[in-house]
């Protein structure tokens, strides 16, 4: 495949079957390899589209500064796109994310401002909103509420899935900004409404939920529950177990959030087998495992790995 530039190559990712993890010849699981994007994660789609959309709206001028709260992948994607398009980027990132994320962001030229670990991304959002108010000339694309985030998946991820797997019955993805699920969910509602849209939400350690009060909870502005069929909370042990299973059984080296998504996909597969119906279940491989090597997620027993990622934002 040939493209005019790196940015033009975003998306067009392979959909690969998982013959050994699929429970039967009638219930099949398919992995959408989003780690094959330029910076190695699904977030390249949203980052590129948010910047192109802001340019089209006249919000960005050459050399201007972007600001974004991010636990990592969106920041890395934005840094890559911003560098190509001539913008500066400041990321507000919780301090409890992997070391590789900081290294990658710095490599692509972003400046990092850390937010406290307690409260996770909620804190990053709060800090970023404060900075945006103090610096009116900075542009915050704000992935949690930017329609261009979900639209990227309506325009690309959804159509790619339907073209590669016309018989698709389930789509399973992670719930963070909700952009992937909202965009793909809306696409299938318009083009194949019987497809089940299933959310897998990472359940972190207690530190991340350390809000001062419940009014500080956060629901992304993009979130529309009516687009989802079901939503599962997946803890670190299940996520790690599936991440390793994907590597050992199918040879796919993915990050920990992908394990959480696979766990939900396998749950749907089990239900289809029990109901005696056929199913083609596609799920998102969000990123590769490279950025998580320092967390120790792939070494020792599952319990040891779980202890090592306790308190980390692993998705």
């Amino acid at each position: 495949m040939r493209f005019d530039s790196l940015l033009a190559s975003v998306g067009h990712t392979p959909l690969v079957g998982l013959p050994r993890l699929s429970p039967s010849s009638d219930v099949r699981i398919w992995a959408k390899l989003e780690d094959r994007n330029p910076t190695g994660s699904v977030k390249d789609r949203a980052a590129l589209n948010m910047i192109l959309d802001a340019e089209a709206q006249g919000l960005l001028t050459p050399g201007c500064t972007l600001l974004e709260p991010t636990s990592g992948n969106t920041g890395i994607s934005l840094a890559m796109v911003a560098k190509q398009r001539g913008y500066k980027l400041i990321c507000v990132m919780p301090e409890n994310t992997s070391a590789e994320r900081t290294q990658l962001l710095t490599m692509w030229g972003a400046t990092i401002i850390t937010s406290p670990a307690a409260g996770g991304s909620n804190e990053a959002v709060r800090v970023a909103k404060g900075l945006a108010a103090e610096n009116p000339d900075w542009v915050m694309l704000y992935q949690y509420g930017n329609a261009a985030n979900a639209q990227a998946h309506y325009d690309s991820t959804g159509p790619e899935l339907l073209a590669d797997l016309p018989e698709i019955t389930h789509f399973v993805a992670g719930l963070g900004t909700t952009g992937t699920l909202m965009g793909v969910g809306r696409y299938f509602r318009d083009h194949k409404p019987d497809v089940q849209i299933v959310a897998a939400e990472p359940r972190y350690g207690e530190l991340v939920y350390g809000l001062r009060n419940l009014d500080e909870g956060f629901i992304p502005e993009l979130y529309d529950a009516s687009l989802l069929s079901s939503r599962f909370s997946v803890g670190p042990l299940d996520a790690l177990k599936r991440t390793r299973e994907l590597l050992e059984v199918e040879g796919i080296f993915a990050g920990i959030s992908t394990g959480a998504i696979l766990h939900a996909a396998l749950g749907e597969a089990r239900k289809a087998v029990q109901a005696g119906i056929s199913a083609d279940i596609a799920f998102i491989v969000c990123d590769g495992g490279w950025k998580y090597l320092s967390t120790g997620a792939y070494e020792g027993t599952l319990e040891e790995a779980e202890a090592r990622i306790e308190g980390q934002l692993w998705a």
Partner: protein
């Protein structure tokens, strides 16, 4: 019928610091009523006039009850309910 309820840090002031408590009931609503009887005050933090509070997520065996039958979701012996505040991802 005993079910296990996992309580988030922010609500443990009502459970004497306990992370996991047990509750009884045939539905989520009756289990929450039972929780309120044993840990006065906690019910109002979970439910308001419109149902489950906006920033509270409740999972029955890891599935979000808003996609089941909400407060009318039927629960069975040995089930686990996890209560979590809504937080940002991404």
């Amino acid at each position: 019928m005993a079910i296990e309820v996992r309580v988030p840090t922010i609500l443990r002031e009502y459970t004497g610091g306990a992370k996991v408590v047990s509750a009884e009931g045939a539905t989520l609503q009756s289990a929450f009523d039972n929780l309120e009887a044993n840990y006065p005050g906690i019910g109002g933090r979970l439910i308001d006039d419109s149902g489950l509070r906006r920033f509270i997520n409740v999972y029955l065996n890891d599935e979000d009850v808003r996609f089941l039958d909400g407060l009318n979701t039927v629960i069975a012996d040995q089930d686990t309910i996890t209560i979590l505040p809504a937080v940002a991802g991404g």
